[in-house]
Subunit: 464 residues, 2 copies
Amino acid sequence: MFKTKTYVQRREELKKKIKSGVILFLGNSEAPMNYAANTYHFRQDSTFLYYFGIDRPDLAAIIDLDENKEIIFGDDFTIDDIVWMGPQKSIKQEASSCGVKHTATFSDLEKFCEDAFKRGRRIHFVPQYRYDNILKIHKLLGIAPKHSNDYASTDLIKAIAEQRLVKSQEEINEIEKAIEIAYEMQTTAMRFAKAGMYEKDVMGFISGLAMSLGSGLSFPVIFSRRSEILHNHSYGNKLKNGDLVVNDSGAETTLHYASDITRTFPVSGKFTSMQKDIYEIVLITQLVAISEIKPNITYHSVHLKAAETITEGLKALGLIKGNTKDAVKAGAHALFFPHGLGHLLGLDVHDMENYGENNFGYDEKHKRSTQFGLKYLRYAKPLKENVVLTVEPGIYFIPALIEQWQKEKKHVDFINYEKVNEYKNFGGVRIEDDVVVTKNGARVLGKPIPKAVEDVEEIASDKI
Amino acid sequence: MFKTKTYVQRREELKKKIKSGVILFLGNSEAPMNYAANTYHFRQDSTFLYYFGIDRPDLAAIIDLDENKEIIFGDDFTIDDIVWMGPQKSIKQEASSCGVKHTATFSDLEKFCEDAFKRGRRIHFVPQYRYDNILKIHKLLGIAPKHSNDYASTDLIKAIAEQRLVKSQEEINEIEKAIEIAYEMQTTAMRFAKAGMYEKDVMGFISGLAMSLGSGLSFPVIFSRRSEILHNHSYGNKLKNGDLVVNDSGAETTLHYASDITRTFPVSGKFTSMQKDIYEIVLITQLVAISEIKPNITYHSVHLKAAETITEGLKALGLIKGNTKDAVKAGAHALFFPHGLGHLLGLDVHDMENYGENNFGYDEKHKRSTQFGLKYLRYAKPLKENVVLTVEPGIYFIPALIEQWQKEKKHVDFINYEKVNEYKNFGGVRIEDDVVVTKNGARVLGKPIPKAVEDVEEIASDKI
Ligand SMILES: [Mn+2]
Ligand SMILES: [Mn+2]
C-alpha cells in the first residue's frame, strides 16, 4: 500500500466533487475457475484499490457524503480460516491502514443500504464487470442484473475518471516499476526464443517472471510468430528462423499498477531486409507520435499523425498510393493499422475501461468515429500533464482482411493490392512504449527497452 | 481433444442413466479480471469438457433424451473477431469434432428452453459455480440466482459423478502427463530454491513451467517456508537455510486433466535431525496409506489408518500419549493432521467438487463426520478399480491452533503440550502423490518424484 494519507487525500478530493448521497464501493471476491473453491489469483477491483488500497477479497466500503462518514464492511477470519490460511489482519487493522475509522460486518451493508433508501438518499456506484458484484448490486439496491450498469452514476464515473486520469508522482513511480519487470520480460524473451521452441515455452517463462517480480501479468501475454494477429492467446506454434515474433506483455506491481510493452523481433536474431523495411516504418511512426504528444493536443490528432506516417512509409514501398491525407481520411491505412494508437495506463492496463471509454476518452466535443480502425481508439481527448498512456503503432498483413477488402474493391484508389499480396505471409510489427505527458512534451517511462534494429538484433542474438 | 468416439461414448453412457427430459450443459465464458475485456486465462467447464471436449468460451449444449438429439449452441466469429484473434473454427466444425450433428446460435437456446417448458419437459443441469452461468440459468429457466443450485438435478449429478469417478485408460494417461509436468515443477523448485530468495521467485518459476509444459496450474501454488499453513497463497517470505519449505502444486495438461503433488524439502539441501524425525513419520504414513488402498476398502478407513500411523509416530517422539485408537477416535491427532487424507483427481484437482462432495464422496451408509479434521475428508466411500485420488498426509505445528487447544485443555489425556511447544516454530511436512486404484491395490502414478530423505537431499543440494 501507499501511505495512509494517499488514500485519505484521494477520498477527500472525491468528496469535493460529489456533494451528497452515498458512494458505494464493491471490492472483488475470489473468482471461481473450475469450481467455487478453485479460484484464479485474486485481483482486487481497481476503484477499490485506488481509494482504499486494501488487497483482500470480500470487502465493500461506503463514503457517506451527508454525514461525512466512511465505513469498511467485511468479516474477520475464524480460527478455521487461520488453520488453513495462516494469521490474517483484522478488518479494523485493514481499515486503519487506509485511514478509515469505522468498520462493520459485510451483512451490515444490507441494513445500511436499506436505511439509506428509507431516508431517500442517492447511492452512487460505478459500472460493475464481475457477475457476483452485479448480483450484490441486485441484492443491495434491488436493480435487476441486466440493468445494473444502467443505474451506475455518471456523476461518480466522471468525477473518478477525472481524478484517476492524472497520475501522481508515486503512481508514475509504480508504473515505472511495472516497466522494469516488462524490461526483464522483453529482453529475456528475445534472448530465450530459439528456432524449434514453441511459443508457449517463451510465454510461460516470461509469465513466471511477472509472477516472481510483481503480482503477475497485467493482461494475457501476446507472444506469437503469427504477429499479424492482434490479440493472439494461443501459443501452439513452433518458432522458426526467419520468423518475426511479437511480444506484447506487461506486469503488475505488488500495488497493481500496470505496464504494457510490445517488441517485435526476429527469432534468428537478424531481420530480413523486407522485415527491416516494415519495422523501421513502425519505429519511426512511434517516435514521431511520441514527439507529437504534449498537453492540450488531442490523442485523436496524434493517432492521425501516426496513420499518416505509416501511410508515407507504405507509399515509399509501393503498397499505398495517392495523397497521404486523403488516404488517411478515407481510412485506407486501416488495412495495415486497424487499431488505435494507444490507451490510458494505470491501475488497469486499459485504464478505467470498465467506466466506459466514452465516459472519459470522448466527450461532446470529441466524438467517437465509426470508421474501421479509428473507432478502436480508446482515448481521443486533449492530453494533460501527468497523463500516462501507451504509444503502439503497428503494421500488419492480415490475410482474411486483405482478401475481404480486395474482393470488395475497397479503397482501390489508395491500395496497391498486387504489391500487398507480396507481403501476405509477412505477419506484422508492433512497437509499444508507455509514456507520461510532461509539461511541454512526453517522456518514455522506465529503463529503455531496446527497439532500434541494431539493438534488438544484438539482444536477440545473445541467446541464453 | 480425445478422439470423437470418446465423447460419443460418454454421452451414450449418460443417456442410459438419465431416461427422459433434457440435459442442459453450460460451457464457461471468459472470466473478467479487472474489467470485462481483461480476462483470466480461459478455463472451460469440466462437465462440458468431459462430454463435448470443446475448449472455447460461450458455448452451451443439450442432450434431448426424448428425441435422442444433441445440439451445440454457439455463435460463429465475425471478420472483426478474426482481425483481432486470427482464423477460428466454425461452430459446425467444433461440433463435429465431438460427434454432435446439430448446431444453433446461442440465442436459439432460449427458444429451445421455452419450447421444452411448453411441452412440460424436465431440464436437468448440474450445480453452477460461475456467476454468469447462474445468471444464464436465471434467464433460461427462470430460477432466481440464489436458488440456482437448489434446482440442480440430483439424478443428473449422481449419474455423471458415477461415470466420472472411474477413469478410462486414456484419462489415466492424461493424468500421468500432468504428473510429468509436476515432476519438473517439484524437482526444479528443489534445485532452484536458495537462501536469500523469496518464495515468490520459486513460485513464479514453477508456475511458468506449468504454463509452458501444459495449460497452466491446476490450482494456485502453495510454496512456503511457513509450511504449517495449509493453503498459503502469499509468497512474501525470504528463504533461509534451516527452513523446511512445502511445495504443493500441480499442472493441467492441454486437455485439462490435473496433477497435484506435494513435497517438503530443506532449503539448505540437508534436513535437521528434528526435521527428519517428523518427515519420516509423514513418509511412512503415506506409504502405509497407499499400501492400504484397494477396491472395496473405504477411503474413510484409509484416512483413519493414516491418522493412527501419525499418532504412533508422534507417540514415539513423546508428543502424543495414551492408546492410539482411542486418541484417533477422540480426534486428538487432528491437532497435527487437521485435514483429510486426500481427494479424487481428474478434470478437476478436487474432482467434481462443484457437484457437492456429499453427492459422490458420501452416501446413506457413509455419512460425513462432524469431527475437526475428519470432517474435511472429501471422499469417504469404498474405492473402485480405476478411481484416481491423492494421498497426502501431513504433520503441522500451527501456533494458533496449539494455543487454542492448550487454553481449552483439549485432549490433555492424549497430548503432551509441553513437548508440543518445543516444536512450535517447526512448521509442517506434507507429502502427496496421485494414485490409481488397481485390481488388487494401488499404483502411484507418473514418473517417481523423489521423496526418500536421501533422494530429496540429493536433488535439493544440486542447485541450479
Ligand atoms: Mn497496449
Ligand atoms: Mn491435494
